[in-house]
């Protein structure tokens, strides 16, 4: 978006400044270096002019003006400090203080309280109020957020944040006049998204997080480090505040990052796993069936020996690696380099094969490599948004916020499928059932293509093949016409694609149809990503058929250039993809090195995965927790967690951001360091002494990263742009759908539920998140619950051919179909392991079969 024109000249305290007509005098003065006190003004919110602290004098105007609401006109002369203003501000502060408790000595906000700062500057020094102060009881009932409403100054920043920005409206001002105060609907539980964005918005100590309450004073922090969140693909900037080498608090600044200081529950409260007691301490080797602690020297030598042995006995291609979206670009880069040159295998992949890595390929093959290079901020400028394949407010909450805000600014939001987090802002929605969504997309494509046509022969050819096999709906479907109108009428359309599509049997067709729609409508495509560095690990070469920079392994010239730079040979043939590795474990694959991942829990058909991994000659798991996969490993290598080591991450808009070391590691070694040491021990030195060197090497090796300089990255990061946009793949294969299993009569299907308050399995170790979402539940519709005679809280056993879990029932009024949903975060209660899959021949994604599930009520005594 273009910078607003600054074409108005005003004089602030005699200094002439040029400002844009939409910049308030308060902001203009701030830019000019004059700080005007204000309590109700907040960067992200529309001004309300309520606190009356920001009063200024304007030449020719009789009354004092609130600068937060005052727009400039040419020649305006503003004074921001004078005796009159000092008196007015002191007056306002005196009035504010009559009901404000003078409890600074034990208020958590003390030291970073706006009110405190202003009183220090403007006074008054003594209070003349002798009456009873307003008495509103504090509330500590909510698991995460405490209120002390006697301190509230009714600036409404929290309420406006929750309403205007977060779009949740969980908070409100209640009462009138002197009794006005903020309250959530119920003080017992805020029943909100727990983004905590109201916390930094509160200028006083009226809302506090119980996670940190009474733990420290702001001035006791050792340091603050700006960094990037490690929970999802958005890559929010946040501030880690450190005390005694522990993360004391996650804070945010409206000036920081593409998220403008906004965070979600995971970003703000989901950091405690870093300091968890149960973090892995020392390396372990399995002896006589048991994992035993050992020294680093011993474990490095052990892994090197065993990998060398496998390589010698079965060839390098018998070794495979699984990379991690929780690891940095540098770690993933070094990991794939180690596998390729150190072990001699291209069998490197990641669990992004169930998500972004696979979906992205479909789009890039059809539309070229630039198809997904869209900045998140551009969503604001869209007037139509199609959301399909998952709820962005859950998978990538801050992306979800952008959509809510765009809707607030007038964009029409259309939803295909379920995205409850957008219910309040949607203009059109259609939930034909997961089995029907692809057909809907194809119908939309057929209609749009008829009008707009294709400007590219290749796309047209691929789409033709879709069209030929398209099953048109038998009768007009409800919502379809509205959805089509939304697509057609949008001048600037965004299509936001969730991770679910690629996991469906007909997902490839759905993605191809979306590519066709994006092509015809010139829409901006956005892919959601559950993992923080899914885009990054793909870009740095953690795919079996792609080298760093996304160059195909088959590209001989480039491969040879790489071999020269790396000083070793890279196998010519592409390696095995994720599920192929699992399926070949024990046969073609003899050793598997898992870095920061948990395939046993996070892949479908866990019985198969478990069996496969158990049949390996060597399973190395490098992680921070003894997860389900680590428990099977021959070797466990304790790694370092987020904020414990340096690195860069690439978000879903291809923005590379720094994640610097902020605290001393609790235990373990950096992932890259462990990999480097093993390589060294195998006689294949990777020649790195520190992370910066890896970044540098990446910038040399990968054309995508040419010019990247980690040292110079600020909070806006560095956008990866293909040096020359690669054309679409040579042979964009016709989309393929796997046969859908037809449901049997009345069969209940099992589906995957994504939870706002959990990410992967690390959130199991974050007490704050467990307080707001303590356990997995089987979610089902009101109708299904009554059909099965189930009530909220009943415990049920969900059984499929793959296994069973026992969880409580949660009836969800927003569900309409004949499915039961289960999440995949909690131990012994994950949904994925219960599902069967078929391997998609093109995307190589495991297409999850919508398995039928048997639901039986379990009486407490049975457990």
């Amino acid at each position: 978006m273009s910078e607003e024109t600054k074409n108005i000249t005003v004089a602030i305290n005699g200094k002439e400044v040029e400002v844009s007509p939409k910049t308030t005098i308060l902001r203009a003065a701030r830019e000019a270096g004059y700080s005007i006190p204000s309590l109700c003004d907040y960067e992200l919110l529309a001004p309300i002019g309520a606190c009356r602290m920001c009063l200024v004098e304007v030449e020719g105007m009789q009354r004092l003006q609130t600068s937060c609401t005052l727009l400039p006109v040419n020649g305006m002369e503003v004074t921001t400090e004078s005796d009159v203003l000092t008196k007015a501000r002191r007056d306002v502060l005196e009035l504010l203080l009559i009901n404000h408790p003078l409890d600074c000595p034990f208020c958590d906000k003390s030291g970073e309280c706006d009110l405190q700062d202003m009183v220090l500057k403007y006074g008054p020094s003594i209070g003349r109020y002798t009456e009873q102060k307003r008495n509103i009881p504090s509330s500590y009932e909510d698991p995460l957020l405490a209120t002390n409403m006697e301190r509230c100054i009714a600036c409404e920043r929290c309420v406006r944040m929750c309403d205007e920005v977060q779009g949740v409206s969980a908070l409100t001002m209640v009462g009138r006049g002197e009794e006005t105060r903020m309250e959530p609907f119920s003080l017992e539980s805020w029943d909100c998204e727990y983004c905590g964005n109201c916390l930094p918005a509160c200028p006083v100590g009226a809302i506090l997080s119980t996670v940190q309450m009474h733990n420290y004073r702001p001035w006791q922090m050792n340091r603050e480090v700006d960094t990037v969140c490690g929970h999802c693909g958005v890559g929010c900037q946040l501030v880690v505040q450190v005390r005694d080498e522990q993360i004391a608090r996650i804070d945010s600044r409206t000036s920081l990052g593409i998220n403008r200081g906004l965070l979600c529950s995971l970003g703000r409260f989901g950091h405690e796993y870093v300091g968890a007691e149960e973090r892995l301490g020392s390396p372990m080797i399995r002896r006589d069936g048991e994992l035993e602690e050992c020294s680093w020297e011993e474990v490095i030598a052990f892994v090197a020996d065993r990998l060398t042995a496998v390589k010698e006995q079965h060839g390098g291609e018998a070794i495979a690696g699984i990379a991690s979206p929780r690891c940095s670009n540098e770690e993933n880069y070094l990991f794939q380099k180690f596998l390729r040159v150190g072990c001699g295998s291209n069998s490197i992949d990641s669990l992004s094969r169930l998500g972004l890595a696979a979906a992205r390929r479909v789009f890039e093959d059809l539309l070229g490599s630039g198809a997904l290079a869209n900045e998140l901020s551009a969503i604001d400028a869209c007037d139509g948004i199609l959301v399909v394949g998952g709820d962005p407010t859950v998978v990538n909450p801050i992306l979800g916020l952008s959509i809510r805000q765009a809707a607030g600014a007038g964009a029409r939001v259309g939803i295909l499928g379920r995205a409850s987090g957008l219910d309040r802002v949607r203009a059109v929605s259609m939930a034909p059932g997961v089995e029907r969504e692809t057909a809907v997309l194809e119908t939309l494509l057929a209609e749009v293509a008829k009008e707009r046509g294709f400007s590219d022969e290749r796309v047209e050819k691929a789409m033709d093949s879709l069209r030929e096999t398209h099953r048109a709906p038998e009768s007009p479907e409800e919502g379809l016409a509205d959805l089509r109108d939304l697509l057609r009428s949008a001048a600037t359309l965004a299509i936001v694609v969730g991770p679910e599509l690629v996991q469906r049997p007909d997902g490839h067709r759905a993605l191809a149809a979306l590519a066709g729609l994006a092509h015809c409508l010139q829409a901006r495509l956005y892919l959601q990503a559950e993992g923080a560095n899914e885009q990054g690990l793909v870009d740095v070469g953690c795919e079996p058929d792609r080298l760093p920079g996304g160059i195909p392994v088959a590209d001989q010239a480039h491969r040879q250039r790489l071999e020269g730079l790396w000083g070793g040979s890279v196998p010519v043939e592409p390696g095995l993809s994720l599920m192929e590795i699992i399926e070949a474990a024990g046969t073609k694959i003899r050793a598997l090195y898992v870095m920061g991942e948990n395939p046993v829990f996070k892949l479908p058909k866990s019985s198969l995965v478990r069996k496969a991994l158990e049949s390996l000659d060597l399973l190395v798991v490098q992680d921070i927790f003894l997860n389900e996969t680590a428990k099977l490993a021959h070797v466990v290598l304790p790694a370092q967690a987020w904020t414990e080591r340096d690195g860069t991450f690439t978000n879903i808009e291809h923005r590379i951001q720094r994640s610097p070391k902020a605290i001393a590691p609790r235990s373990g070694r950096a992932d890259w360091q462990i990999v480097a040491e093993i390589a060294e021990a195998m006689g294949c030195p990777l020649a790195v002494a520190k992370v910066g060197e890896i970044t540098q090497e990446l910038a040399t090796v990968s054309p995508l990263h040419a010019g990247l300089d980690a040292e110079s990255l600020d909070d806006r990061g560095w956008l990866v742009r293909p040096p020359e946009e690669r054309p679409p793949g040579e042979s964009a294969a016709p989309p393929i759908a796997l046969p859908l299993q037809e449901p049997t009569t009345n069969g209940v299907r099992l589906g995957v539920e994504r939870l706002l308050f959990h990410a992967g399995t690390t959130s199991r170790h974050s007490p704050a998140l467990l307080k707001i979402c303590p356990e997995a539940t089987a979610k089902l519709s009101v109708e299904l619950a009554s059909e099965l005679d189930l009530e909220d809280g009943d415990r049920v056993r969900l059984s499929t051919a793959q296994g069973s879990v026992t969880v409580p029932v949660e009836i969800d009024a927003s569900l309409t179909d004949h499915r039961v949903l289960l999440s995949n975060h909690f131990e012994n209660a994950g949904v994925l392991g219960l599902l069967d899959y078929s391997l998609h021949p093109l995307t190589k994604a495991p297409a999850l079969e919508a398995s039928e599930v048997a639901i039986t009520k379990v009486e407490a005594a049975e457990e």
Binding site: V159, V168, S169, A170, L171, T172, M173, V174, G175, R176, E183, P184, F185, S186, R424
Partner: protein, 155 residues
């Protein structure tokens, strides 16, 4: 606690009248009050559901206005004006009498549940000051004796 079908239908009708459904809130709060007697948390919650509005917004709006019943009230609501015109002519003495004789304080209810008292900020009957309204009946030119008499006519 749910709204009756008739109330839901009425709310739906009101909602349909306005381009933005939230505009139905002020009238709908009266309907909820009629249905449940007063605007308890449960009442507000069921109204929020009927209007498809966040419960907090419903509560925020409801509590701003003083004429909704925010607590359980007696069988009859006395709305006594004590603003200046009425005060000059003895309204505060009437208020004092209600406290003395009936134990009735502003916002309170008599022990027998007969009356609740709301002190009004001018009910626009200043020519008949002091004035009050009981339920929807208007009384003017009150004196202590007359007030006593009037109250005795309410069961």
């Amino acid at each position: 606690m749910t709204l009756s079908t008739a109330a839901l239908r009425e709310i739906e009708m009101i909602r349909g009248k306005y381009p933005e459904p939230r505009s139905a809130l002020i009238p709908a709060l009266y309907i909820a009050e009629r249905e449940f007697g007063w605007l308890s948390a449960a009442a507000l919650l069921s109204l929020a559901e009927a209007l498809d509005l966040p419960p907090a917004l419903v509560r925020g709006t409801a509590t701003f206005y003083h004429l909704y019943r925010h607590r359980e009230m007696g069988r009859h609501l006395i709305q006594l004006c004590t603003n200046v015109s009425c005060m000059i002519l003895g309204a505060e003495e009437l208020q004092e009498m209600l406290k003395r004789k009936y134990g009735l304080v502003p916002g309170g209810t008599t022990e027998d549940g007969r009356f609740s008292l709301l002190i009004m900020e001018c009910i626009g009957v200043c020519e008949g000051a002091p004035a009050m309204q009981i339920d929807t009946d208007l009384y003017q030119n009150l004196t202590e004796e007359r007030l006593d008499e009037i109250l005795s006519s309410y069961g």
